[in-house]
Symmetry: C2
Subunit: 205 residues, 2 copies
DNA sequence: CGACTATACGGAGGATGTCTCCGGTTAGCA
DNA sequence: TGCTAACCGGAGACATCCTCCGTATAGTCG
């Protein structure tokens, strides 16, 4: 089990005391248990269950993670890096605009549906700076801006397309797909409409 | 307080016994209380609180409405009629395609965000025939099909646009707008993208 | 009108989940 | 080895969902 400290999460790495050995152990066990439970039961899985499965009291869980979102935030550590990588890959592949978008949006939805209920949580936190996962939303928005911005620079998108709105739109698709249990492939037609809606010269089918 | 019986909800009106007078009274009080609580606290408001506010025991609530969605269904009685009317009005206004869609989508979002959390519930029930509000989703889908189908008939949309997908897409926008607390006006750019994505000759801005 | 019965009421209480408080424990250090 | 700040853990207060069943009453029939 790779030790993962809160320090790694913090933006400014200064001033964050290292955890005591036992605290670090429990922290890691909690994150692992949370990953399990959220995978099984979705983002609304029981927190006491997570504590129990980590072999730890509820108090310990709440000390490390005051809110549910703090816990979700913690288990999205490496997630950010993957999102970033995918957005860069999409730009660098240098495919035609349509394919770039198809690829990136598919990735985006994959990341948004990390587990059941995740898409809804991310969507909700998108405009709420006080949310513990707000930072993750910004990551997503930045990654999306990288791809959309690139296509804007090459004049392949209509004028006045804001990446923020595109981000919201795709979040919406992910949320609906997640909530109604339809697969990523089944969501493709919706992505197609959005792509047609932002591409400049989108040949009338 | 206008008496509203479950009979009015049922599709087939045969075989539904009329309620006893006291039962009818409680039914109405529960619907009124639910309307209040859902308006205040959203679709996740406490059911016990609704019972209490109706001056009725929890048992009575659960007898009339086995699930939360049955209750939500009940207080959307006249809602269906309004949705229907708006879709017909949109078609009959006979405006240019873009304006027709702008108008209809705005109405649609208004109906989907009946109260906080409603959009998410409707989105989730869209593909779940066992849900008590599935029927309401079909209403919505039919109304949307009326508008989108009309524009398809007049060849104003791209080929292969399925009204079902459009419906999902707009539900997604409504869900995100609701969850992140952005207003209907702020959602307009997203609707614009969708409209551009389905209109045949959508001039590149 | 009085009695009978199907129907409906209501609230006590079990099950589950969230979150806190504080007496007891232990890691790290001198 | 002993001290202390940091940490643990679980009892329990509180909220919410939902059920069960003894009690009450509306509607009906003689």
């Amino acid at each position: 089990m790779v030790p993962v400290t809160p320090a790694e999460t913090a933006t400014a790495d200064e001033g964050v005391k290292p955890l005591r050995a036992d605290a670090q152990r429990n922290y890691d066990k909690l994150v692992a248990a949370a990953r399990e439970v959220f995978a099984e039961r979705g983002a609304e899985g029981s927190l006491d269950e997570i504590a129990k499965r980590a072999g730890v009291g509820p108090g310990t869980l709440y000390r490390h993670f005051p809110t549910r979102d703090d816990l979700i935030d913690a288990l999205m550590r490496d997630w950010s890096a993957r999102v970033l990588a995918d957005s860069e890959a999409a730009v660098e592949a240098d495919l035609p605009a349509r394919e770039t978008l198809e690829r990136w949006f598919t990735d985006l939805i994959k990341h948004l549906t990390l587990h059941r209920g995740a898409a809804a949580k991310l969507s909700a936190a998108f405009d709420d700076p006080s949310s513990p996962i707000y930072r993750k939303c910004q990551m997503l928005a930045d990654a999306n801006e990288r791809v959309v911005g690139h296509l804007t620079d090459t004049h392949e998108l209509r004028d006045n397309i804001e990446s923020r709105q595109v981000m919201r739109l795709v979040s919406g698709i992910a949320t609906v797909a997640d909530a109604s249990g339809i697969s990523t492939e089944e969501a493709a037609p919706m992505l197609g409409i959005v792509i047609d809606g932002i591409l400049r010269d989108s040949a009338t089918s």
